[in-house]
């Protein structure tokens, strides 16, 4: 039989292949883009990229449909005279007009009160640049989305072990034998974790998932341990309890590498109560963490300087110092702390059977001890001792927002870090491993400004907009202890708010608490929809006017690539490019993509020209920086310093002549240096030649035990990854937290919290992890609202980004509320029917789906599939707005009025991490006469000028949407 249609005939056309970096989520995989006659034909994973080694996910493989989305903004827009915010009535303007309008306004602000300008950004990958811009402008009111994402994960771990999950560290699944994933959404750390999981399972590793929901990664777990949301801390503390009780902890590791054996004064009468006992060895003034602690030596039964050669300390016990002070090793305090956190107690809290909790502890402890790894890698520790091998206890963990997005998340994550530490798994094979530039000192060196005087007209901000307070004197408050930042970060309300509190910016600015601002610039954050809590009211605030008829937030600039819900509220809309049209630097100064074996950074290089008048946001910042003559963007003679963003990336140095810039690879005149070196004019070309990625693989001896690895620490110092080359000992006992607590107790010779916050500080700044019910939950009538409600994003969508993607939205055009059948039946809800879900803040009508894979006290849904009508250029009857729903309407950005104040953020009291998953709800059937559409509904958003057209049907053939057969 003859074949008429040749199945292997490649379509005609000029083929080109270009490398760049994906941006369909935050993972930053290397991609290879095939173009046919200049149009995108195929996007594949780059096989030569260290992060994804050729694989790609559903989103990455649908990048074409993002590029050609009709929701793309292509022209700068100005809100029409007379139109209200939210009406989405715009007229196109020129870039020149946009720039001059903005620059004029910002110039005035900068010359009067720079903090009246606030810059907040979403899941961008340019915080080094946006942060620099804010600092140069002189405003402290800058943050990215971290505060409502996972700042608890970053701070909880960094304040304990000097590193954290995801960009900064992760599980070493190559060598782990047991992997415990807890509180991780179904696809976190997408491709790298998927690759590692599959390899781990195929190597016979055992995978346990602790999660209220079994989906995504949890689906392939060897064991699923369902847990009630917000109770992970209770489980982790009970595991610590059981490991200490049975002696399954790694004593040697704790002694040498943590403060477990260091003595803490426990004498309430003593001035230093709660602080470490210190020797009077003279301190090096340049030293970050003086090694001046004290052990109680077992042999001599006397105090001895910690880590003195040939001493071995007690980890347990209570001792009297020669001066009579009662002291205990940190580890004894931990043991005392977890004494009541028995498996039986935890079982009640978490819903996990006692036997399961005990077995989990035994599996962890026995795997760690009996499957120990000894790698023949010699290294020298920070105290000069040589080791012939690197030891590993092959138990690895991964956790993310399931732990972080609760108001008790910081202490939960402290508990997790301590669990990982007592198992002896930190930066060791088979356990947790750091990624450059981590580990960093605890806490890292960057500090926020310290007083209102650090913000001055026409002056660079004194301090970093974001940083890591080490004690109350690092807080950014005025003399009355009141916040200086608009989001109240680094104030007594949220002292360790290392990523800011973007979720409170609009509400605070609207209320004028702590003050009113003038201009809010939002980049790539959908603050009128899925990126905000309390969505309905925040939309009203954005459009609210004062008695004079002026907007309460006077000027709103939104930069985005797509017609998101947020663009409707802008006074000026700036069209950003897609990731395929721009230069980008995934910088070591920001959140790079380092591997366990060494630093990695990467770039994006455009594969197609920008659509319409689209301009990358980086170019906007550099243009504005130049127009405003911000020092970093201006030459000594006052002229523009950088032609454009690529020029900036190549030539910018953190200090003149520092040799440190945004990109670490191919520095030096001829590209012969890395990490540090003078600018290389051909740096972009060299990245382009090397798959857009720079990867330095360190010697094996520098790859482990980096907190205490002399070789590594010196190398890191030489290459300016860190300032200090001192050991970074694990904070089992956190003296940093204790200093805040002492301030609340009036035992601190510095800043003292306001009276109404003292109890809150004293309670939550506990130097040892503890379990407490999430704040919102504790303020809710749980009889009325008996269920927990949580969200996660599906693997095939990244937050709100992909509903405009014609391929991805076919997979998830709308979402259900997933409910256990018994929970649903108890209130008469039928599978697939319309129901109401209600919290004390609001209610939403949605569709219910039965599921046996959810803990019966929990209901859950996909995040951000539900859309406001007409947004993202979807047709008004699209499923996203008719059947899809957003849970955010039920979640408040502020707690009900309580002792800490009337408008305290619904956040972790230490870090300001948004407590998304603390909401309590009830569900009930919708009435038979009710409409079969989700509620609430909003007026349909019209198409913005410059956006594309939608067809009844389309066929994509390498760029051409055709109605004819093309092959």
């Amino acid at each position: 039989m003859t074949v008429v249609h040749n199945p292997i005939q490649a379509p005609a056309g000029r083929i080109e292949v270009k490398n760049t970096t994906c941006y369909m989520c935050a993972c930053r995989c290397g991609i290879r883009v095939t173009l046919r006659d200049g149009e995108i034909r195929y996007i594949q994973g780059n096989p030569d990229h260290p992060l994804n080694k050729g694989v790609i996910c559903a989103k990455g493989a649908s990048g074409i449909m993002k590029q050609y989305s009709p929701a793309r903004l292509t022209r700068p827009l100005r809100r029409k005279e007379g139109a209200d915010r939210g009406d989405a009535q715009f007229e196109p303007i020129s870039w020149e007009e946009a720039f001059s309008t903005i620059a004029t306004r910002l110039e005035k602000i900068r010359s009067t009160d720079p903090k009246k300008f606030a810059l907040f950004t979403g899941r961008d990958q340019m915080q080094a640049l946006t942060g620099l811009f804010a600092k140069q402008f002189g405003t402290p009111n800058y943050a990215a989305h971290g505060g409502f994402c996972s700042v608890n994960m970053a701070t909880g771990m960094i304040y304990t072990i000097g590193g954290s999950f995801w960009e900064f560290g992760g599980p070493d699944l190559d060598r782990a034998r047991l992997f415990v994933m807890i509180g991780t959404a179904e696809d976190h750390h997408s491709n790298p974790l998927k690759m590692a999981l599959s390899k781990f399972k195929r190597n016979g590793g055992r995978f346990i998932s602790i999660n209220p929901i079994r989906s995504g990664y949890s689906a392939i777990a060897d064991e699923w341990v369902p847990i009630k949301p917000g109770t992970d801390g209770a489980l982790l503390l009970a595991l610590i309890h059981e490991l200490i009780r049975t002696g399954l902890y790694d004593r040697d590791f704790l002694v040498q590498y943590s403060n477990a054996a260091e003595l803490v004064s426990v004498d309430p009468a003593s001035d230093d109560s709660g602080l470490f006992v210190r020797t009077d060895i003279p301190r090096d003034p340049d030293c970050f963490d003086p090694q001046d602690r004290v052990w109680w030596d077992r042999a001599s039964d006397k105090p001895t300087p910690a880590r003195k050669a040939d001493t071995d300390p007690f980890l347990l016990g209570e001792f009297a110092m020669p001066d009579g002070r009662r002291v205990k090793p940190s580890f004894q305090l931990l043991k005392d702390r977890v004494a009541h956190y028995t498996p039986e107690w935890a079982s009640e809290v978490t819903g996990i059977p006692v036997e399961t909790i005990k077995r989990l502890a035994y599996e962890m402890g026995i795997t760690a001890r009996d499957e120990k790894i000894e790698l023949p890698i010699a290294w020298t520790d920070a105290w000069g001792k040589d080791h012939d091998t690197v030891t590993g206890n092959p138990v690895a963990f991964h956790a993310m927002r399931g732990l972080a997005a609760h108001s008790n998340g910081f202490q939960t994550i402290r508990a997790l870090s301590i669990l990982m530490s007592i198992l002896g798994t930190i930066d060791r094979p088979g356990g947790f491993r750091h990624k450059a530039p981590f580990p960093r000192p605890i806490p890292p060196c960057a500090k926020p400004p310290k007083s209102p005087n650090d913000v001055k007209p026409n002056t660079v901000l004194n301090g970093m907009p974001l940083g890591w307070p080490a004690d109350p004197n690092d807080l950014f408050v005025d003399d009355d202890g009141k916040p200086v930042r608009i989001d109240k970060a680094f104030s007594w309300e949220y002292p360790l708010a290392a990523h800011g509190l973007m979720h409170n910016v609009i509400t605070n600015a609207w209320r004028g608490d702590p003050y009113h601002i003038d201009t809010l610039l939002i980049f790539m954050a959908n603050m009128a929809w899925n990126s905000t809590m309390n969505t309905t009211h925040v939309r009203q605030m954005l459009n609210d006017k004062d008695d004079n008829g002026e907007y309460k937030i006077p000027f709103l600039i939104v930069c985005d690539a797509f017609q998101s819900e947020m663009t409707a509220y802008a006074d000026i809309v700036l069209p950003d490019t897609t990731y395929l049209e721009r230069h980008d630097a995934m910088s070591m100064l920001d959140r790079p993509i380092s591997e366990y074996d060494g630093p990695v950074d990467s770039v994006r290089i455009p594969v197609v020209p920008p659509k319409g008048e689209c301009k990358p946001f980086q170019e906007v910042l550099i243009e504005l920086g130049s127009r405003l003559k911000l020092p970093a963007f201006t030459t000594a003679s006052g002229t523009r310093k950088y032609r454009d963003y690529p020029d900036f990336i190549v030539n910018y140095e953190t200090e003149p002549g520092s040799g440190i810039g945004f990109l670490a690879g191919w520095r030096g005149k001829g590209g012969e240096k890395f990490m540090k070196g003078e600018p290389n004019p051909n740096q972009w070309e060299m990245y382009a030649k090397h798959n857009c990625v720079f990867h330095y693989e360190m010697p094996k001896s520098y790859q482990y035990m980096r907190n205490w690895n002399r070789g590594y620490l010196k190398w890191a110092q030489e290459h300016r990854l860190t300032r200090y080359a001192e050991p970074i000992n694990i904070h089992i006992y956190s003296e940093v937290l204790m200093k805040f607590r002492r301030a609340a107790q009036g035992k601190w010779e510095g800043r003292i919290p306001p009276v109404h916050l003292r109890k809150r500080i004293e309670t939550h700044f506990d130097p040892l992890p503890f379990y407490s019910e999430p704040l919102e939950s504790a303020l809710t009538d749980k009889h009325q609202y008996p269920l927990n409600a949580v969200t996660q994003r599906p693997m095939a969508m990244y937050h709100s980004w992909d509903s405009q993607n014609a391929w991805l939205r076919q997979i998830h055009p709308y979402n259900f509320l997933h409910v256990h059948p018994k929970t649903a039946q108890a209130v008469g809800i039928v599978d697939g029917s319309w129901i109401w879900i209600e919290s004390m803040h609001g209610k939403v009508r949605c569709l219910c789906r039965y599921s046996e894979a959810v803990e019966p006290g929990t209901v859950w849904t996909w995040n951000a599939i539900g859309k406001a009508k007409g947004a993202w250029r979807l047709e008004p009857n699209a499923n996203e707005s008719e059947q899809g729903f957003l849970l955010n309407h039920l979640i408040s950005e502020e707690l009900p009025s309580c002792e800490a104040g009337a408008h305290v953020s619904n956040s972790d009291p230490l870090t300001g991490q948004a407590g998304w998953y603390d909401v309590r709800v009830r569900i009930y059937p919708a009435g038979a006469d009710e409409a079969h559409v989700t509620s609430p509904q909003f007026t349909a958003m019209p198409a913005l000028p410059g956006t594309g057209t939608t067809r009844k049907w389309q066929g994509f053939f390498a760029g051409m949407f055709t109605k004819k057969k093309t092959a």
């Binding site: 008429v4 493989a61 689906a219 001890r369 049907w953």
Partner: protein, 243 residues
């Protein structure tokens, strides 16, 4: 005789849909011509896809298993869709066993899709011909591609490498070894279609805890006894017996 096929390892598939969209993006600009999307931005979007990932739950809480299940044309050794085709558009290649549709012969009668028990054939509503997974036959023999990439797009994409590709008639191929050693099976064996694609089942790793691992000689708690034991003052046997 060669029979190319996929082996799908359900043990590691996390249901990410990478195979679904990587297939679409490769094939929509390939020899099949565009793959239609209807209502791409409206109500009930629907389109032509050669591959889908479905989700099932089995068991009852808390012993629930969530199963992600990718499915595309299984390239049956005895494909029921081929003999029923009135035009000969549906055919099985002799050289590699791939079941294909000749888009220039197909009259779009849908009969082959009726004859497929697996529901893997997809009529393209606008091109009005039947389409289906081609195993990316246009990649497999393309000498302009590096050898490592002469594979179906879904196989290259799959982040968990849950999709193995090779000749199931070669007993030493990766796919044959996987089928043999990891319990590979066929879907709906009751119809005798002998699908060339196989599936590998879920496998569980368990840990047995032995009591002697808990009562340990190296228990570090032993090091926390403070000081050498001192003589005690209460009476002992030493006070009352000379033996």
């Amino acid at each position: 005789m060669t029979q190319l096929a996929l082996v799908i390892d359900l043990n590691v598939c996390v249901g990410c849909h990478a195979c679904v969209t990587s297939c679409k993006e490769w094939n929509t600009s390939g020899p099949a011509g565009f793959m239609t999307d209807e209502n791409p931005y409206g109500k009930d979007p629907t389109g032509t896809f050669f591959n889908r990932v479905q989700t099932y739950e089995f068991g009852e809480f808390p012993n629930t298993e969530t199963l992600h299940f990718p499915k595309s044309c299984l390239h049956c050794e005895d494909p029921p869709c081929v003999p029923v085709c009135p035009t000969g558009a549906s055919y099985k290649r002799k050289e590699d066993g791939i079941v294909l549709v000749d888009y220039d012969k197909c009259i779009g009668c849908r009969y082959c899709s009726w004859a497929c028990p697996y529901g893997v054939r997809e009529i393209d509503e606008k091109q009005r011909v039947m389409k289906k997974c081609t195993l990316c036959v246009d990649r497999l023999y393309d000498e302009t591609l590096p050898v490592s990439e002469r594979k179906p797009a879904c196989v290259l994409a799959c982040p968990t490498s849950a999709r193995l590709y090779g000749d199931v008639h070669d007993p030493d191929s990766e796919v044959s070894v996987a089928i043999r050693e990891s319990g590979g099976y066929q879907l709906m064996p009751e119809w005798g279609t002998q699908p060339a694609n196989h599936y590998l089942p879920r496998r569980k790793t368990r840990k047995q805890i032995h009591e002697d691992e808990l009562v340990r000689a190296d228990n570090p708690l032993k090091k926390e006894q403070r000081g050498p034991s001192k003589p005690i003052s209460e009476p002992t046997l030493d006070d009352s017996t000379s033996w």
